[in-house]
Amino acid sequence: MSENRSGADGRTISTGVPGFDPLAGGGLPRGRTTLLVGGPGCGKTTFALQVLTRGARNGAGGIFVAFEEPVEQIRQGLARRGLFGDGEVEDRLAFVDARLPSSVLRGGDFDLLGLLGGLAERAGDLQAEVIVFDALDVLLASLEDPGAERRELYRLHEWLQETGLTGILTAKETGGGPRYDFLEFMADCVVRLHLRTEGKAAVRGVRVLKHRSSSHATHESPMIVTERGLEVVDTGSVKLEHRVSDERVSSGIGELDRMIGGGYYRGSSILISGSSGTAKTTLAAAFAEAACRRGERTLYVSFDESVSQIVRNLASVSVDLGAQVESGTLLMDSARARPGSPEDHIVRIRSLWREHEARNLVVDPLSALEKPGTHLAEEVGLYLVDLAKKEGITFVSTCLVEGNRVESTPIGISTVADTWIHLSYLVQAGERNRALTVVKSRGMRHSNQVRELLLADDGIDLRAVYTAGGEVLMGTLRWEKEEEERMAREEERREAERRRREAEIRVAELRARMEALRGELQAAEEEAARAEEETRSARRQRRSRERQIRELRTREDGTEQDREEGSGSEGREGSDG
């Protein structure tokens, strides 16, 4: 039994497409049928061949049944990609030309029994484990009858089950239509390949639509075509797999190293952004030179200036790239005049760094890869970040931005980069100086630190900046400050509004209370007046009664009693009062 196993329980076979197996829970289902679908040119045949050759490298025989592409062409393609190795792989594979040429006349209904019979024999000879039926849709179409198509597909399906081979069917169907539905129904695993082009940028994607025997990722993943075939690129979702190092390497400028806690992390990605003329290349080259002086091989790819120009410019600030190039430690490549899609460039850069065995990479500027207006190509820059991280390469990229606003970096790399340095001009007291801002850096406590960047004959240096208010206004900071102020004003306004409203409510409240009190007061006054009146009235009545009594007594007793009672009755309360 071959070593063609992957997945914890051997239920899957490895595809040989780097980065794909984890998306499919370990690989394609062993002993079952996988359907590869996609439009023309999206890489189905290449994918299938990679699976086949991977199996063969592990000792498993394989058969490729070609319904469309000439066998010789396929073999040549494999040889060119070096997938035949030293002939070992070639011996384990059989290529069957199963094309039905147009010169063959159609004279009625036919079936695949002949082919399948022959294939069974070959499979036995080779001890094959994997069989590819490439461009099956072409054969099915030649049957010219949906009923016959279904019948032959059933036949194929049963045959695969009987032989126990791992079957891979490729078809140009992408969805809809009875043929696709049936193929999809038959398959235990369906993988769809995409190809979208915008101008020169080709963006490929792969997605596992269905996988009966294991859990699979459901998202589409980007792919590139390398010299060896297809490869899946991860743009950030599986960051955990990348080697994370705590080792620091110098940026080439001592003060910058200190600002960020010792230097760039080895294997991390660093973005240097800035408008034109802000010394991005200088900073990137300083890193390269420092790395070379440490004895580390480095690749510097320029999309902008020529190599000699860069060497000259940097020499004027005492950064000697020339010596490093001569010693062979530094490989400089000028890619500006090279044609090719962003994908081509990326694959080429990776080949270069592998050939050079570089531990460090500079791409200046990375923004040259993307073309304005084609958002597809933006992501392509991220592929490079992933590819570099996978191999532990410290990657410094520069990015040209317009104006002084940092947030206009067109490629999403600013979110993915571990360290982001922004270069700009600072106008201060009538002077125009260079400023360097560390916008962020992993492991740094305080972000947005600013220094003045000085370029002189004897080298590069950073100096602290001071302004009157202790504030440096530029780029992100200015924007942040403006935002802060705007928000503070807004807050104040809201606070004032709130207080005003509260005061109004209070005034209204008090007024209401006052009204109530007034009402009470009035009532109380009236009450008092009434009481006063009643008292007087009562007194009057009493006096009146007392007079009457006196008069009655006077008539009876004469004058003497009058005089006695008169003085007494004045002070006495009436006994009947």
Partner: protein
């Protein structure tokens, strides 16, 4: 692709090879239809070999036979092929016709 069979001594002799898949319906139909088409011809002028791919699967691959049934006219040259149950008799006759057949 299979190598063409060697030319016979009499170039007008009809050499045929029919690839069938056992008793499968298409294959049975093809045998029947072919026999019917060959009947009016002089038996001495026709050479027919029937290859059952289920018995001899290698021959199918060797001769580049993808589907069954496949009828190969080896002689007279050039070699020509027709696939299917051969039900369309006119077409079959044209295929078999010795002098300047029309495709």
């Amino acid at each position: 692709m299979a190598e063409p069979a060697r030319a016979r001594e009499e170039p007008t002799r009809l050499a045929l090879r029919l690839f069938v898949a056992g008793e499968a319906p298409n294959s049975l139909a093809a045998r029947k239809n072919l026999e019917a088409a060959l009947e009016p011809l002089d038996p001495g002028a026709v050479e027919l070999e029937i290859v059952d791919v289920l018995d001899e699967p290698r021959r199918a691959l060797e001769d580049g036979v993808v589907v069954t049934p496949t009828l190969v006219r080896l002689s007279p040259p050039p070699e020509r092929r027709i696939v299917g149950s051969l039900g369309a008799s006119e077409r079959l006759r044209q295929f078999l016709a010795v002098e300047n057949p029309v495709p």
